[in-house]
């Protein structure tokens, strides 16, 4: 559709040249040599102090990976990746834990400052060790920091720098730590769940990740616990020629609830960097997991040079009856996005949701969507996807909804809408709808359309001027998704998308 000037301007504002997080931090790093082989995997495993079974698991994945071919079915185009030209491990050189802000590497501090993380939180993020009897009262921390508490796990290149609010979470029975720590401290949980949603054999990039993942977050919410605060992981790629391979595992036991947020940025560089993550969610009976992402990796410059290749496998398993998993994503960054957060609706009466806003500009390529696999009885799913393509970008929604033979009364509603700004971009929709059960009810709708005169007339005849009327309608275009985000992220997402929401009522 020919977008209104206001919208065009705002999208342009977040054009690739305007990337705010493109700075690089010079910090002393401990790196593995370039290349990928069994020795590198042993090196990573040793660095992480991992038990033998974990190393074996990695090596098995690596051997499997060697037999796989890179997938080519996505609507993305990029030069072949040289997997031997990447550092698979890079971490800030560890020094004895600083005890005050003054002792923290000022460069590391600057990173968090520039990324806009509040000061009080910053102290925690930089790994400041509190004196034992300091006002460690969690409530006070809360009062001083922010109106709402968000526990953060900060991942800097290959390692988790720090995890906040651990103590208070532990009191509630929630385990929130880096995955490396979980492998050491809670091997029984990791062993039980790791790789059960995304097996090591799943796909090219997931298999690679299984072999070389360096860090990520681990969340375990025990039976009946409602996680007392939002959990969040902040991913930052800093080092040159590195790949980031993080692994996140979230488990919600019976009746538990957690809301998890993920954010990411990277410096501006001419060469492409690879980010291949795996996220696994497990929801048991009556559990609910809400997973939100604001993805803002460096998208490359105006000519399409540089940027992150974001090849991610995210999958949630609604293993228990009446469980619920909800994915919300705002995708604005990355040169290439290849990402399909999915739900396996295994438990009876389970529910999966996917809300997505994908904004592409410059030479970005997005091929993203979801899979809703209905296996249990009375399962339902809902997909809302909004794609906005500008510049020379290509924006594809690719999704699958399937009902197994035994999935009686499966329900799905899918809506994908696209907005095109300019003549050089493309928007595509590729849904796969597969019903093997007569009681399944699937609805799919997709549109690519201009704001109709009828809509405009309807609003304007109520005394609203044209510009505002258009803003109102555009607002409606993304509202369904924005509404699903936790409050802090909703604000960030709105800024990021830059689509006018002014002048709208309410």
């Amino acid at each position: 559709m020919p977008a209104v000037q206001d919208t065009i301007d705002r999208v342009r504002k977040i054009d690739v040249d305007q990337y705010k997080y493109g700075f690089e931090t010079l910090i002393e790093m401990d790196k593995a040599p370039k290349g990928l082989n069994e020795d590198i995997i042993r090196f990573i495993s040793a660095k992480k102090d991992e038990p033998e079974w974990m190393l074996e698991w990695r090596l098995e994945a690596f051997r499997r990976w060697l037999t796989l071919e890179e997938p080519t079915w996505a609507r993305v185009d990029y030069p072949k990746i040289d997997f031997q030209d990447i550092h698979y491990y890079a971490a800030p050189t560890s020094t004895p834990g600083p005890t005050s802000l003054d002792e923290v590497d000022p460069e590391l501090l600057k990173v968090y400052e520039k990324l806009g993380i509040p000061l009080r939180e910053q102290e925690i993020l930089a790994g400041v060790q509190k004196p034992a009897n300091d006002d460690a009262d969690p409530d006070e921390v809360n009062d001083n920091a922010a109106p709402r508490r968000v526990a953060v796990d900060a991942v800097f290149d290959s390692v988790s720098v720090v995890t906040t609010f651990k103590k208070e979470l532990a009191e509630a029975g929630v385990i929130f730590c880096s995955i490396s720590e979980a492998i050491r401290e809670h091997p029984e949980l990791v062993k039980k769940y790791l790789g059960t949603v995304v097996p090591t054999t799943d796909n090219y990039y997931a298999t690679l990740n299984s072999a070389v993942f360096t860090d990520g977050s681990f969340v375990f919410v025990p039976k009946g616990v409602r996680c007392p605060m939002e959990l969040s992981t902040y991913f930052r790629i800093n080092e040159k020629n590195t790949g980031q391979f993080e692994r996140t595992l979230i488990i919600c036991e019976e009746g538990a609830y957690v809301s998890y947020l993920e954010g990411c940025t990277a410096p501006q560089r001419d060469e492409n960097q690879l980010h291949a993550a795996v996220v696994e969610l497990v929801a048991l009976d009556d559990a609910e997991i809400k997973y939100s992402t604001v993805q803002n990796w460096y998208p490359g410059d105006a000519e399409g040079k540089g940027g992150i290749y974001n090849f991610v496998t995210k999958r949630g398993d609604c293993r228990g009856d009446r469980s619920k998993i909800s994915w919300t994503q705002v995708e604005t960054g990355s040169a290439i996005t290849w990402k399909y957060p999915s739900c396996i609706l295994r438990g009876d009466d389970s529910r999966g949701e996917f809300y997505s806003i994908a904004v592409s500009n410059g030479h970005q390529q997005i091929d993203s969507g979801t899979k809703m696999i209905h296996l249990g009885k009375n399962t339902s799913s809902r997909i809302i996807s909004k794609g906005i393509a500008a510049g020379f970008s290509q924006n594809t929604y690719r999704g699958q909804v399937s009902a197994n033979r035994k999935a009686t009364n499966a329900r799905n509603f899918t809506q994908c809408d696209s907005l095109l700004i300019g003549e050089e971009c493309g928007a595509h929709t590729v849904p796969y709808i597969e019903a093997k059960n007569s009681t399944a009810q699937f609805e799919h709708e997709a549109t690519t359309s201009k704001i109709s005169d009828d809509q405009k007339f309807y609003v304007m005849q109520r005394g609203i001027p044209e510009e505002e009327a258009i803003a109102l309608i555009v607002n409606g275009f993304v509202k369904d998704v924005i509404q699903q985000l936790p409050m802090e992220f909703a604000v960030e997402a709105q800024k990021l998308i830059g689509i006018s929401l002014e002048g709208s009522v309410g």
């Binding site: 559709m1 493309g426 849904p431 019903a435 799919h444 997709a446 359309s449 201009k450």
Partner: protein, 422 residues
């Protein structure tokens, strides 16, 4: 299909290659025609497409094509009663054209066999792409067909019915059609037979500027048959094409529809009805190119799935760069009536222009219980009520055809199908 070379030939692949060796000397045409046939069989030698080939995602031909009937020179089909009484009927009986052709003002009919023999048709032969298995199969074996040429400005009073009939074995035909500027006509393509067979039929339509054409494909192959149809069309300026497809038979059916709106102001309407019963696997795959500005299209596909039938609809709408003001809408609705039935849909949009209105919708569901209750509350028993609802679901699409005689004839076929499978 070259990308994933088959490790070992399936019996069907071997049968096709062997059949080519046996039939070769009897197929019309040499020189360029033979070269095209050779290339086509090479394509088949490389392996039939599997589900890894995106265009065949839901129809793994390599796995599904299990039987290749042997060509049978003695089996000769009988012409059938035309769908509408006044139609001009021409038939292809077991893949062979007739020397006795009707004379109609404004319509020129030629036998394709002659054009294959003298080589004048060689340029139009061949597969479209490396994944065009239907094109390859047909090119290798095509022996006959008709070329229809409707003169500029001609308005044919009666529909032309082309019958492709067989009594078992194999039949491979082509049907090139040119409709002149401003001409008006209705063409009915019947695909049927009396015994299991392997059939391929490809038509090429060139629709002149301002021409208006209604084309019906009515396929009711007998059980055990494999039917591969391909309809290709290019639409001129301000031309109007209404295509109606009805699939009501066959074991393995693939009907491809490739339409290019190549002239500004062109409009395309597709109405499809798939009545799937038994253990049929029926795949309708459409690719629609909006290549120039100001073209419109609407597609409605209605499917009824019973028994152990599997249905597929893939529909892709491409809007080229600068094809502004395109208006394209597609809907695919499926009634899944049995627990063992399956339906898969892949409606795609590929859009490279910004000032367009495009949309697609797809639904899969069972009969609405409220509707059923409404009818049953009025004293109609469940079976009859279901029958009424299913018929209404399909008839709605048939009634979009404005010609009453055609609507009546198709509804009669519908009743016949329901009587047999309902």
């Amino acid at each position: 299909m070259n990308m994933h070379a088959a490790p070992q030939r399936t019996p069907a692949e071997t049968a096709l290659i062997d059949a080519f060796g046996e039939r070769l000397s009897l197929l019309p045409g040499d020189g360029d025609v033979m070269l095209k046939r050779d290339n086509a069989i090479e394509q088949i030698k490389a392996g039939l497409p599997t589900r890894r080939i995106e265009a065949w995602h839901y129809t793994d031909l390599r796995r599904l094509l299990t039987t290749v009937q042997t060509y049978d020179g003695t089996a000769i089909a009988e012409p059938m009663t035309p769908l509408v009484a006044d139609a001009t009927a021409i038939s292809l009986l077991n893949g062979a054209s007739s020397a006795k052709l009707p004379k109609v003002d404004g319509l020129d009919i030629r036998r394709l066999k002659d054009m294959l023999e003298d080589g004048s048709f060689s340029a139009a032969l061949g597969a479209r792409e490396s994944d065009d298995a239907v094109g390859a199969l047909n090119t290798a074996f095509v022996a006959d067909g008709y070329l229809l040429d409707i003169a500029d400005g001609a308005a044919l009073a009666a529909p032309v019915e082309v019958q492709n009939l067989h009594a078992g074995g194999q039949a491979h035909v082509r049907l090139p059609v040119r409709v002149g500027k401003g001409a008006k006509a209705t063409i009915i393509e019947r695909q049927s037979g009396s015994a299991p067979a392997l059939v391929s039929s490809i038509s090429h339509l060139t629709l002149g500027d301002d021409a208006e054409l209604t084309w019906l494909i009515v396929q009711d192959q007998p059980e055990g048959s494999s039917h591969f149809g391909q309809f290709n069309a290019e639409l001129g300026k301000n031309s109007k094409l209404t295509l109606f497809v009805m699939n009501a038979g066959g074991k393995l059916v693939r009907q491809e529809i490739n339409v290019k709106a190549a002239g500004e102001g062109a409009s395309f309407t597709l109405r499809g009805v798939n009545l799937l019963a038994g253990d049929t696997h029926t795949d309708v795959t459409m690719v629609l190119d909006h290549a120039v500005p100001e073209t419109t299209s609407t597609e409605i596909i209605r499917n009824v799935v019973t028994g152990r039938a599997r249905g597929v609809f893939q529909g892709r709408i491409n809007v080229a760069k600068y094809a502004q003001k395109t208006d394209a809408k597609m809907a695919c609705n499926t009634l899944l009536l049995s627990d063992e039935g399956e339906f898969s849909t892949k409606p795609e949009l590929e859009i490279f222009a910004d000032d367009v209105q495009c949309g697609h919708g797809a639904t899969v569901t069972e009969i609405d219980h409220n509707h059923l209750f409404y009818l049953m509350a009025r004293g109609i028993d469940e079976k009859a009520a279901r029958g009424l609802l299913v018929k209404a679901f399909v008839a709605e699409v048939i009634e979009d055809l404005e010609d009453e005689a055609l609507v009546e004839a198709l509804e009669a076929m519908l009743d016949g199908w329901f009587a047999a499978h309902g």
